[in-house]
Symmetry: D2
Subunit: 474 residues, 4 copies
């Protein structure tokens, strides 16, 4: 590529210097110094320069192919049998194992020794994933970067082992900087202001995070829970209910939860914050730990369920509408079509599809009661189809569904207009879904899903999905 900037140059020199000491008898402290320089220079780089540097690492500090070749030549012959031979083979394998390990494996290990080093590697992997994405067209670079990524991911998965993760509950008494981060990381249902935030960590709510011993001020996963007495079918209550104490309650008594009103936990938001930890499962562990904590606090808690978004339903639906417009398949019954024509004020079926596609790019339709009623049945049906029947490599196409099903949850209920926020309408026409956790069955259901890729769903969901298939078949 073009001549690198001074900083890239400095970063490269620092890393070359560090690597050159690898096999000399230099003290580890000296190598630490060099690695600290590498990190410093790297952190100064811009996006493009980082890509350059990562490509440098992935290509220059990959496996020494020659060394591998030579070792393969030296493979001990298997003519003499017995222990001696076996021992020889083990030692040869040992050497091969060392040789085939790319140099950057050693580099990553060294960086991890620095204070803040593991966090640096997490952030570096985020850059690496970006680079990988932008360079995917170059077949060689793609392979080299991919190898480096899998090396780094494996190392990270060793460090981000559950034993080093701490579950923490976040309340209004938690440090302000943590609450600020919890607020900023919330992507599913954005936090509007501090009052909103205070409510989300207040009464009838729980907010748990995972932190890592290496980076105690950084929430890795954030899980928001609503405590109630029935499986929520809408966000409205969750984000707005304030359960003000009734008049005859004492103003002296601190406001507090009434445990008798609580037997259900609704996971209404789960966010993994570190892109650099992609592919390393933490969310499932957090849910597991949190269920444990909740049951300890509320021994009578019996129902656990998510209230989850369907991020790409409208996108999928739009594509479907186009195909329907082209006559490739039918998605409404004729009664529905006639109703839609009426409410949309159009004569032709094909313009129904077109109108609907446009309609779903705006939020206005949700105010038209009759249209909403007309759409409810077909959209719920199509959504069930999308969630239950659409697959990717055998598993649920919808990533949220796939996450919960892998955890052993059941696809429980599809909820009409559960999220009327602009985001909710734009993504899924406001539809949300409950994935319900039956604790005793999670283990076996998870296995069923993973092994046979069969989705376990409630009768209601299955009926809806079947109805959709019926209509589409016709």
């Amino acid at each position: 590529p073009s001549s690198p900037s001074g900083l890239v140059q400095a970063a490269r020199e620092a890393i070359n210097k560090a690597v050159s000491k690898r096999d000399s008898k230099t003290s580890v402290l000296a190598i630490d110094e060099d690695m600290r320089d590498v990190c410093y220079y790297y952190s100064q780089l811009g996006t493009e320069e980082r890509s350059d540097f990562l490509i440098h690492m992935a290509t220059v500090f990959s496996t020494n192919h020659m060394a591998v070749e030579q070792l393969i030549q030296q493979k001990p012959q298997v003519d003499i049998d017995g222990n001696k031979m076996e021992a020889q083979r083990l030692r040869w394998e040992d050497r091969l194992r060392q040789a085939i390990q790319p140099t950057y494996h050693w580099i990553f290990s060294q960086i991890s020794r620095l204070s803040g080093g593991v966090k640096f590697l997490v952030d570096m992997r985020q850059d690496l994933l970006t680079t990988l994405y932008t360079k995917s067209s170059d077949i060689f670079l793609a392979a080299a970067l991919k190898t480096m990524d899998s090396t780094l991911r494996e190392l990270l998965s060793l460090w981000f082992t559950v034993g080093l993760l701490n579950v923490q509950r976040i309340t209004w008494e938690s440090p302000c900087n943590m609450l600020q981060k919890v607020s900023e990381y919330e992507a599913v249902h954005p936090v509007r202001n501090w009052t909103d935030l205070k409510r989300r960590v207040g009464l009838y709510r729980r907010c748990f995070i995972f932190t890592h011993s290496c980076m105690p001020n950084e929430p890795l996963v954030v899980l928001h829970i609503f405590l109630t007495s029935e499986i929520s079918c809408s966000m409205a209550k969750i984000l707005k209910t304030s359960r003000t104490p009734s008049l005859d309650e004492s103003s002296m008594k601190k406001d507090c939860e009434d445990p008798s009103l609580i037997n259900t936990a609704i996971f209404y938001s789960i966010t993994s914050t570190q892109k650099g930890l992609k592919g390393i499962e933490l969310g499932n562990y957090l849910i597991k730990r949190v269920v444990h904590e909740l049951r300890a606090e509320f021994p009578h808690m019996t129902q656990f369920s998510s209230l989850s978004p369907i991020p790409l339903f409208v996108k999928w639906l739009s594509a479907l509408l186009i195909r329907a417009e082209r006559g490739e398949l039918s998605i409404f019954t004729s009664d529905e079509l006639s109703d839609l024509r009426e409410h949309l004020g159009t004569e032709s079926d094909s313009s129904v599809y077109e109108r609907l596609r446009k309609l779903f790019t705006t939020n206005g339709w949700v105010e038209e009661e009759e249209l909403v009623n007309t759409l409810q049945m077909p959209l719920m049906r199509l959504c069930a189809h999308y969630l239950y029947n659409e697959k990717l490599r055998g598993y649920a196409l919808d990533s949220v569904a796939n996450f919960h099903l892998k955890n052993g949850a059941m696809m429980w209920r599809i909820n009409w207009l559960a999220d009327r926020s602009p985001r909710g309408l734009a993504n899924s026409c406001g539809i949300m879904v409950n994935y319900r956790y039956f604790l005793e069955d999670c283990e076996s259901q998870s296995r069923t899903y993973l092994e046979s890729s069969r989705i376990i769903a409630s009768d209601t969901v299955v009926s809806l999905a079947r109805a959709a298939a019926e209509v589409m078949k016709v």
Copy 2:
């Protein structure tokens, strides 16, 4: 081996079951269950059974040789050049890297995910090192176990990275269980009782430990320091001085240190407590961190030095005395010999050597003033020779010397009768040595020692060592 006990059998079955799920699509939580069983059964086993089980792991769950062979056969041909070829090679190397990784690498990673898992692996490695030692005669088993040990050590060195270690100061206000452990782990100068312990964490003393985020109640390294105004030449003051407040001091004022009396830190005991972490350097990092803390607390601190034991000096000396008795070399000057004959009440030179050897197995000689005076010069000289000239693979034979020299310390002063405890007399005729840390020079001295294996010592030590060589040459 003989038919294994029920528990070994159960442990084997559990591990087999876990491994069988490796490539199936089982949820990680299910594998966790199996691994928990493995740990449970293993922890129930006796020493011999553990060896059996570890051998089972090292042999059955090693690298799949066939798979490696096959992959090597499939090596892509290098006839076509270019990116495509390179990418192919990278992918092939990836597969080989996977294949050559022993199964137990995956097992260890899985165990690390359990709560308490990393500590389990540390303890398991201790068993592994024992097994390795007892089975070293079987060439195949030795190779298999060694390969497993290096795999485990590499993983442990990833987890016991400095970023996950916490320096903690131990005082009389620390939790009692920690103080008990600090007391029990102290091997260099055993703690006599709780009063003794209280003094060692009290005024003019510092005690620092490293703990790991995974096992916060377990001191991994313990470092004891004495704060004073000169480089200590004896343990007497360190273990006994109590600096009682003078009479005119207020009884209201809490006893406290007078910072003006402190400009020197004596590291008089450093202990690594986990045998399972053998080969993973932590002590040097702790010293570095502690120096940092001390300089923050005492900005005027200028001198840092150890006061260290010489664990095997008497053992080495005894061998030397035998050789001298046989006339293979001379170790005393003729004047010294004549004095020794007199004080030992013997006529012949050869019986001097024999008498001395017996003498050093007891502690009584230290009470005979004249004998002590006569021995001082020759023993100091020989000790300097032992420390400065005797090498193992190029480095100092004495492991304590090697540790401090690697850290960049200087061999500063040899101290006569510095440790009059039975242990001190038995190990090194009571001689101790200061390794002094000149902070600005540590880096370069460490490098010098590691690269050229040259020992940096003070003039006094070098003169003593030269004198010894002189005498021995004759």
Copy 3:
């Protein structure tokens, strides 16, 4: 008054019940129960009802006058001299001391035993002060309430002793609820939003609070400090400066303060939050402790000063303008008057005064540069006069001045347009004043002020004040 509500009735009955047990042999736990009821019912009362209840307490549970009278009758005769007589007198005094203690002294002590009891008493005293204010016209009630107030204040001053107060630094890492309170209590320079708050506890800022062991989540006094290199003459820099790191600084390095830029601490806001602690000095102790902390952190800190508001200057000025309008005194030189006539567009002097009074009720004038320039000298002069010469019972009339002067500070500098906020302009035409703390002189200056009520001020302030007196004399 009108028949009390059910709750007042309940509160009265509870307190009567508790008092009735006072001399019976009831266990303390039983009395605790009753007192808890008293607190509960009281907390339910409205403002008017609380007044009723407090009057009930102050009158019904005051000193038993009859008992006092009787004891006075029983005073031992002083005819016999000697020890026996003295002992008798001491015992009689003891009894009188008991008798003259009002019953509510015992009630308050009992309430303090409850969890949350001391906080309850603080809040109750706030109500008591309100009641005292509204009932001041009734000579008997006023006396009764005042006696109860002084009893309560004395008890509170015992509990709010410095030994039970904790200094805490508030940062962005502090619990969110504390930061919220710090924000809400800030009265001098209101916090606009969370970004503003974050800055006030951020770089080059310190925020310290006093909490009490009884109510650890309640800041009693809040002190805000700005760290800089000169004595600030305006709020602008304090509330807005953000010292963004320059471009060439590392993005890796955490933003941090440069200690070399810090040698001055500006106390720019001090707030006592509990009205119920009126008359119990805490602020001076907090300043003293904070100076101590700052000097420990910044050994080279040499300058300590407040930047303080003058809350009632405009109010005082308006009264002055009226008197000037009436011709009772002159406050401007004739040159100034002529300039003012010009800038205010009026012909007569008397309308100048009127115009100015109206002007100072709005904030617009501060934008008219020429007017501002014309006003600067006379207003600064008058302000110096107000601060330096105007007295109340011998001490400075301005309460902020009185607070700092009692602490031993010097009236250092008057600053023109130092606070351009609406509040600052409305209160003091934007003028602020520095009270400077010369640590070595505080003790003696405090004594001078307290004993001779002489205000210690810088030459500049004194000159301004003299100039004002000069003009007004004419």
Copy 4:
């Protein structure tokens, strides 16, 4: 007394200086300085000197008698009626209340403001109680010191209010200095060594302390509890049982308590550590709080009981034996007497009493099985008599009994040879007693005892006591 030492002189001068500033306008900080000096000098004094100083305080800084006299002369006349008159009276009472307050009341308040001041006052009161005891013969001094003591006790009782006390559980993880204090303060069943201490805070044990916010490292009250499944009748199990895990338990699993074995809490030691807090009840509050904690931890806990010593039973018994020897009353039945003659190897009844008295000064008798059997019935009976019938000012003579009965406990069971330690045998022939807490009845039983001084005891105890009375009547 003789001329006081220089330190006493210095202490007196410091206190005179401080008091002289009382009504001047000196800043509080200046008075703090003086008071700090007072404390410093006082702390340097010996026992005798402290007495001198306390007498100085009690006499010189007592109430100003003249001022009181004068005020009494000025009592407003009651001829005019109405509000004005009432207000006048209130103000006069106010002045009298101020005047009659001794100067040392103000001194104590000032000292409390110092850091460590409250603890200083606690310790000073201990000295004061000692002085009071040694000077009790001087009628005037006794009265003066007593007045000062009651002033100080009242102040201390305000500070040692429950709201400022913290319950803390002590475990082996608690700070070592706290455990050391818990060990040293244990007076009832002295701690033998650290292993013993570890057990007392270990499994099936609880140890709770009260600390005060002013002195967080000082246990004020220590309460030891044994967790079991029946009301313990002996110390043996409590101090020795180790409940080692059975063989088939996992060595991996941390030793832990089996909650199903726990439904009873035995309070087997409660110690108030601060003599200076005599007369301020804390122990009952600690028991109440601890019961609360235990029920939260063990919802199925149903039985609460003490296992208490009877410190002065043998002393009382000896006096009784003397009277019996003199023939003043009979304490054994004739059968018992004849048995005792036999076992003690004596012919005459009177020498039986003498022998027994001697016997109970040693511990040997407890090894003679037959004698022990013979003594059991009469000693149990006499002990019941001692506890149930012997009174002091209407309440139980035995102070331990009085403490528990005031708390509302029931005298439940007398246990033969429950404490075989030398101390236990010497104090009470090894007899111990259970005071049982029926939580629902505590309140009413406490009231019954306090109001009617009736002791509530189980039928067994009452029968024993009656039997004793029967025998003694004859």
